[in-house]
Structures are given as C-alpha cells and as structure tokens.
Symmetry: D4
Subunit: 170 residues, 8 copies
C-alpha cells in the first residue's frame, strides 16, 4: 500500500505556508495528514506522533517552524523516517533564525532542510523519497518535471512572440 | 534547604565551556549537578531530567548547546523552573546559529539566554535567581560585585602608576 | 509579601511592545510598575531606579530597548536582582543590533535575554523567577502551561474535524 | 537488489569532508560511488552522471560544494532521485555562501540540505531514504540510533562516576 | 558588425528588473535579445543558449536570478564570453543569498557581478565591454557619463537656488 | 566668526534624511550649507568641495550615502576637517552595506560614523565638535541635553499619572 | 592651553589595541590620559570621569569596548564633549556586536564610531577635532597626510623599480 | 596592438593576493602593469591613473581593496573602461565589508565584482573582456577551459583507480 506523508507544524499561523506541501503531494497523488503539534507546548504528543509515524503508514515527515525552530529536530530525534524541515519566515530575523535552527543539526540526527517558506519543495522532496519504493510515482515525477520545462518554454515562446513591453503590460 | 542548579549539555565536547557555570556557582557556595544528556540522542532521558528537576531540589537549570541548539528549549518545555540557555561557539556559523536557536523561543516558553560561551554569566544569573529566596546568597552577590569593582580599580591604579608601556610589557 | 516586577524602557515608542510583559504578569497575578527612563538621556534616574529596586519590593527587572540597546546592561550593573532584557525591533538593522547589544554582556554582569520583541516571554520568565519563593505562583504557572497545551490541542482537533481548506477560510 | 548512493563533489579539496558520507553509509552496509565532477568545469559530465544515476542503480545522490555551491542544484535539475546537498566551509564567507546557494532552491527542484560540513549526516539521511524500500536497513538504523543513545549515556555515567575535573583532565 | 547582448533569466517574475539592462543597452544603441531559460527547469536549453552565444553574434551575456541563483554560473561554465550576473532581491534572505550564489564563483569560471537588482548597471557594464572593439560606442559612453554629471549638477544648482524646504516639497 | 557645517550627499533621494542634520544644527544656531555632489558621477566637483571646505569657513563636514557609500571616505581623503558619515538605509542590504562602506575606513583616514539614517545625531556631533572652539555653543548643548532629559521625565510622569492603557490609547 | 584626549576602556585586555590611539595622538603632539573604567563593573566612576572630562582639560574622549559595548554610549550620555567609539574585535561575533552596540546610538546622544579595532584612526579623528581650535595642530595634520601619501608613493616607486616577484620576496 | 590590463591596489599588503590576477593574465599572454595607489591616501594620483588608462593602452582595470573598499568605485568613476573589483579578506568583518563596498555601486557606474580574494578570476574575466577584440586570445581561452576540464577528469580517473583512502593519504 502506498505510503502517506505526515505534515506537522507547531502553530496554525504556519498552516497557510505548510499547506503548499500538501498541495504538491496531492498533485502527485500522495495521501497526507496535516497536524498541529508544538515541540514546546505539547512535547509528549509531538514525540508520540513521530514515534508512531512509521507504524501508522507514513514514509516521510515534513515539519515546519519559525523562530527558534525546534520541531523538525525534535521529530527527527524520535523516528528513523526521513524528516524534511521547512524554515518559516517571520519575526525580526526573518527566517534566518529558523533556517539555522533546522539545518545545523548535530552529528547523528539529520534533517533534510529546504528553502525558507519552501513547503512546496518539501512536498516534492517527500515524493522523490517515496518514489524509491513506488515506480508509478517515479514516473509521475518525470512527467511533473516535463511539465515544469514546458511551462518555462511556453513563457519564453510568448516573450519572443510579443516582446518585453507587451509581456510586462499583461 | 538551599536549592541546587542543574547544568545540562548534550555532548562532552561542551563540558569545558559549561564548567565555567559550575565554577561561578561554586564561588557563590551553590551546589550543582552536571549532566550530559542530548535533546536529540536521548530525548526521553532529557525530558525526564527536566520534568523531575523541581522535585529533585533544583531551583534553576542551565543548558548549553551549539549548532541547532535545541536543548535549552526542549528542557524549558518540560519544566516551569527558570531555564538559562548558553549558546556554544563552534562550526561554520560560529555560535550565531546556537544563539538564534536558543534566544528566539516562541511565545509561551521563555529561555533566559546569555552571551555565546557565556557559561560563567549563566552561573551568576542562576545565583541571582536563587537569591530571591535566600538573603544570605543575596549578600554574597553584593560582595561579589564589590570584588569585581575592586579588581578593575586595582588595574587602573596600576596603569596610572606604571604607565601603558610598562603595563603592556608585563 | 509577594514581590513586584519593574518594567523599564527608554522611550514611550517601546511601550506598546513592553506592555506585553505587564499583561503576562497580570495574568499570573503579579504586580508590576512600568517606567520610562532612558540610559542615555536620564542616566542618573535610571541607575537610581535600579539601585533601589530591591529595597522597593521588586524581585526582578525587565528592561526593553532597541538599536544600541544599553538599558538592560546599565540596569544590570546597578543591581543584583535578575535583569531580563528585551531587544526591540526597529531601524535598519531590525533588532539584531539590539539583540547583540543586550545578550553579549561581558563576564560578571549577566542579562537574561529573550527573543526580539519577546516582552510577553520576559513576563513569563520573571514569573518563573519569582515562583522560586512563591509556591502558589509556581502552581499558577503549571496551570498556565496546561492551558497552552489545551489551546494547541483544540486547534489540532478542529483542524482534524473540518480540514485544512475550511480551517484556512475561517 | 539494494540501491547504491552516488557521492559527488566538484573538487578533490572537498574529498576529506565528503568521505564522512561514505563512512556513514559503509557503517550501514550501503554501497557508494565517490566521483569528482565539477558543475562549472565539466558541466556535461556532471549532468550525465545525474541523468543516468537512477538507471545505474543509485537510490540517492549526495553532492557537496563550497562557495557559490551550484553542484547540488545542477544535479537535482537532472534527476528525480532525492539529492542531498552538503555546504562545505571555506573562503571568506565561511560556508554561509554555500549554505544559501544550496538550500534556497527555487520552486520545483528541491535539494535536501544538511549542516555546513555535515557530510556524515548526509550519509545517514541517504540511508533513511533508502530504508523506505529496505526493511533490513530500517532495522539497522534503529540499532544505530540505540548505539548513539548508549554512547551518550555511557559518557554521562562516567561523568557522574569521576566528576567534572577528572573527566576534563582525561 | 556590432555585437549584441544576450539577457537571460530563469523566470518571468524577474523580467521587470532585468528589462532595466535592455533599457540601458538601448540607450547606448546596442541590440539585445531577452530570453527566459531556467538553469534548473530547462538546463539543456540554457546550456545550448550559452554554448552558441558567441557564434550567434553576442559579445556578452547578462544573467539574472534570485534565491540560490545558479543561472549566471551555469551559463559562464558554457561560454568564454564575459558573463555578467545580476542578483535579484526576493524571499526571506532578500537577495543576499543570490549575491553570494553569483559572486563567490570558484577559481576558473568568473562571473562579473553587479549590485542586487543592478540590472541597469549590468547593461552599462556590457556596453563598456563591447566598447573595447567599438570606438563609436566608447564615445557614446563618454557622452553618457557627461550627461550623468550634468544631471547631478542641475539638481545641486536647483537646490542652491530654491533651498531645501522648497526642493523637498516639490 | 562661527564656523559652518557642510552637508553633502550624492543624490537628492537622500535629501529628506540628510535634512535632519540641518535641522539639528539649526536648533543649535549653526549655519549649514547643503550640497548634492556625487563621489561617482562628479568626483572632481566633490573633491573640490572637500579641499576648499576649511578655507570656506566650514568646521566640519557631514556626508551621507547609501549602498556602496564612498562619499564620506572620498571627502575625508581630501580634507583634514572632521568628516561625519551617515549610512543611508536602502536597497536589498538595507543600509548595512552603507554602514560597512563608511565605518571600516583603513588606517590614516578616519570617518566619524553615526547610526544608519542617523543624520540628526550627525548634526549634534558636528555641533559638539564645533563647541570645542565656541563656549556659547557648548552652553547651548548643555541646555539641549537638559531638555532631552526633561522630555523623558515628562513622559514618565504622565505615564505614572494616567497609566499604561490610557497612555497607549492617546 | 592645548586640550588633552581621554582614552577609556573597560578592561585591560583592550589596552594593546587602544594604545594605538595614544600613539597616533603622541605623533601629533597631543597629550593623553589612558584609564581603565568599566561601564558595568564601576559605573559610578565611569560616569564621573565623563562628567568631569571637560573641566579637567579634555577636548575629546575615545572609548573602546568589545561584545555588548556600552562604554562609549554611557560616556557620551554624561558629557557634551565629542565621544569617539572604538569597537573591539573578540568573542564569537567577532566585533560586529560591538560595532552595532556603539554606532546605532538613539537620537540625541551621538557616538563618532570608527572601524573595528580602529583605535589609531580614533586618535587621528580626535586630533582633527582638536585642530578646530588649534591652527598649529591643523598644520601638523596636513603634514601627516603628506607623509601618508609619500609612503604610498615610495612603495609604488619601489614596486615599479624591482617588480612584483622581488617585492614579494623581500 | 594587444591591449594591456592595469592592476591596482591601495596597499602593498594586498600585493600577494592581487598578483594572482597578473599570473592568470600572464598564462594567457596578456601584458599587465601592477601599481600601488590608494583612493584615500593619494586620490589625485589614483584618479589620474584611471583617467589616462585608456590612452595608455589598457583595455580593462582590475582594482583590489579590503575593508571600506572604495578603490574600484573611485577608479570606475574616472574611466569608461570595464573595471573589475576584487574584495580582499581582512579585518573583523573578513571581507564582507569589502564585498558590499565594491558590488553595491549605485546606478550609473558599474564595477564587475568577483569573489572575495578572487584575483585569479579577475584576471580571467579581464582576458574574456579583451578577447572581444582579439580572436587569438579567444582561442587561448577555449584551450584554457579544456585544460581545466582535463584536470578535473584526471583527478576523478585517479580517484576511481586508487580509491578514496589512497587518494586522501597522498
């Protein structure tokens, strides 16, 4: 049975950004579960979600957080599933704090970090991970990439056809 | 009975720096317990130490960590004792990652952060906190400050006496 | 008699942020005094407030400042009470200047630093400090934490019930 | 048949760091191939290695680079396998340039980024990814984590037994 | 025959900024071709444009990109024409990521980097480069500089004439 | 005869900020001359203004610039009058580029640097410098400081009188 | 009578750097007094030195500090003499903390900031300030600048004479 | 007649780094002239060198500087030749100050910036610029690139032949 992806965040203020991950995964026909569970306010629940994720049919976890962003690392400490961390922009340091707090994990417990606010790419990365055991998904990813290329080519074709000024005034 | 201070770190590579906290507290006649317990490698043990700290006679916790420094925040999530965080210098980002990962705690769970490698000041701060319920300690802190002032004054007196060149060639 | 918390800032432009500290302390039934007193414009008054704070019944001081934020350090130099520093966002460097100017205190005079604009957490930290000599307050803090957890759980329950799209369109 | 991991770098000056990834994977009984292939000096060869990686039996690619670190992104553009990027410390900006150049990938082409010089964790992350289709590997990862925990516990036990001064003088 | 300048970007979201380069070149009577071609989505097309640029009559290439800005470096790897890189502001790191990802090119493959969003100056720089083989263009550049000076002088003259307050209230 | 202060900037886009310097100096009864003269567009005119400033009755020069802010340093190279540099906020790096480009002057040619956008303080600093040869001005500066203190005290008095909520709702 | 320059620092660890200011001033025949007086350890003494500086014959104050560098601002709050701040390199943030803590002074109390470790330039700047009331000093400064130019010219002449390789092998 | 490249720096302390530019140009058979001329100490000489460079047979100028690195911008203001700026690492801010002070040039006067300490690439870039009017040089650049590729391939071949451990122990 196809594996699901667990999408975690500590606060509903991150839901709009993190939903991009769910959208990317839906486009690739992967089932997701979206949960609000803070590393600091409900640490026991958060660790339980991580501990049980593999047994519950998940093949990867995406965790997003801002500021002193501990959620991805705390989750990664409680599972051997791949954990993808999404730094969320916000506050005076604008997400660089979250980036450092997620990517600079010490030896032994990695977190696969994507760009600040890069939840969509987190979804794609989860799909690329699941595709290792799901050849049909791997083929959908190839098609997805071809579509990306076609979009860029269509834009360039249109630009050559109508020129910069017309393109910008659209 | 006088309260103790729990000093935590995730790796013995931080012990040399963190021992400065123990030294400051010893100078102020406060008992400490120094433990190695990682937020990522042994999360359950770490949370247990935090949960039980108050019942075990501790009045404050000092936690030091480098890189994506989650230890102070994870500990703070599991106790209502004041938690003092010490960012440890190291790695390519040189401790600014640890500073951000400790100080930028989200609303609800504060960590009292000191300077990068500032374990000595963390010890003093813990003493200032314990002094709220211990007037004899408060008096020792006043004396400690007077000694700090006397040291600076002695250095300035010597400089005025022997001059810059002689002072520097000591 | 229960101790009070002194809340200081150098300019009334910081009052809106710093009032979050007063709110957190009010929620925990702790009395506060809010004062405007600049380290640069009225240094003598500022130092007097710090020197006399303990005798005036305060158990902790919260000081907030932006830019070259000297207020918390100047206050800390004049008292052995715990001083909590709040970096205030503003200007071209956006609060990172204030963070560095508060947290990087030299050996001997610590300031317990919280997140940029983290006045609410400064209030909670002051309460955790006062709770060392006030068991009833310690119990209110436990309840406060339980309420934080309940709020997160309620949000997650609602999200599971109505789904992401409905939740976001609220 | 078990999948292999391709380890790429643009210069042999990165080999010492990147070999940590090979060591982590060897400890988990995963076969690796280590190649020097620059995105800037031999772009065609580099893209060919990426294009053919899946067909050649690789399940993940680890790419390390310093400075304007384009290698992981260029590789990720040419494969749907998960690509793990390792920023390498060096030069005046000390690896923060490489971190930004790897983690901030635009929408559509993710790179799973680890800490600066975090090649060992890159190896572990690759193993966690391959374990999605290899239950025996998943079990070796659980054992690996238990060993990490045991090491930390052994150090703490020793510290409690001999004390800080003896521990530091080892 | 006078050489042209190729202006590249990976996404049409950069077109408005990059059009400043075309405007500067038009003012100096240099022909341009503006293309959308991503280093990550259509790497083969991008490399082909670079490989064939010299044969197609281009004397310089201007490439603009934001975030992990690989386009200028990837283009520079595929041509010996001078490549001018324009970091584009955007995202949480605000263009400093793009600046580092463009300017910190490793030994062997230079990219001539201009200011963040400095596409206009990129156009001028391309003109200064082409002027090495086009004396009439070199003379137009001298006139262009004289006009710049005249504009500044005219503003200062006006300021001296009407005063600061009148000038600001224009 | 009392000396004047020369206020320079490279572009009229900086005039609004730099006018704060003129205002501070006017409040202290010091005559100013405000000129637009770019270090890059009209270098000869700029250097002439600097060379002749002392002979023309100026006692200090204030120079403001943004981005790669060379104006203060170029001016300082052409005079032995004290030169005060004002970094102007703007562009993607938000004034930190201008701060570094002004304050980090090499050995031999100092620039007295103030805060980003700190033109008002630049005016005060110029007045403090001129006061070295003008005792009446020195007395006006003392009065100015007393007024600063009185303003802060008045605000604190009002806050104590009406309370935080009333003060904030003004 | 010629005015003197007061050189202050908070710790004798800064004496070696700060002595560069004394050297620059000695070369220009200006008398200095060098004092150790911390803003945090002996705030009353520090403020007294500042308050009495003008009456004691000083025409400018140079204050150097590292980390959360409050000394220059605290001194500036207690005098209307020009105060020159020298950020001292040190600690994990390497002097950028000190730079921000000195240069970003709020409206009303300026500090004339020089480069990190730029004590020599601080001395020159103090001389340029004193020269406003001392024409003989102004002439010594002109000679000083001519000597600087002559040194650079002599190096260039030598380089042209012996070539790069010989010059580098000296 | 083939054009030469002028290599400028403000201090002989930068000569060792800047000589890399001369080496790259010598390898491509381009004549260079290396001069020490500071923008701050000898501004008139520096501007004269820039003004006369084109008439003196130069086709491009390379200027290197550290700290508040004004030299490349000052030179660019005085010529319409392409000016390549090399930020030099040094001081507390480690070359990021120089990078910002060189690359962030305002509209109208571009500087082609390379990596911090990237003088070798500056030389290559100058060669790529001169090649626009020198087809034989263009062919030498193609050969140069082929040699770069061959070197990388040779290293990879050796690595495949002898393995990582043997390669590292060389």
């Amino acid at each position: 049975m196809a594996k699901k992806v667990l999408i975690l965040m500590g606060s509903d203020s991150d839901l709009k950004i993190m939903n991009d991950a769910a959208k990317a995964l839906a486009a690739l026909e992967i089932e997701t579960e979206v949960r609000i569970s803070s590393a600091h306010r409900v640490p026991d629940k958060t660790m339980k979600l991580a501990h049980e994720a593999k047994a519950n049919g998940f093949g990867a976890i995406i965790a997003g957080a801002g500021l002193a962003a501990h959620l991805p690392g705390v989750v990664a400490a409680c599972t051997t599933l791949p954990v993808i961390g999404v730094p969320i922009q916000g506050g005076a340091i604008n997400g660089i704090d979250a980036l450092y707090a997620i990517v600079q994990m010490p030896k032994g417990i990695p977190v696969a970090t994507v760009a600040v606010n890069g939840a969509y790419n987190a979804g794609l990365l989860a799909a690329q991970i699941l595709a290792g055991a799901d050849e049909a998904l791997a083929e959908r990813l190839v098609t997805f990439r071809e579509n990306l290329a076609a979009e860029v080519n269509a834009k360039d074709d249109k630009l050559q056809e109508i020129g910069v000024e017309a393109y910008l005034s659209k």
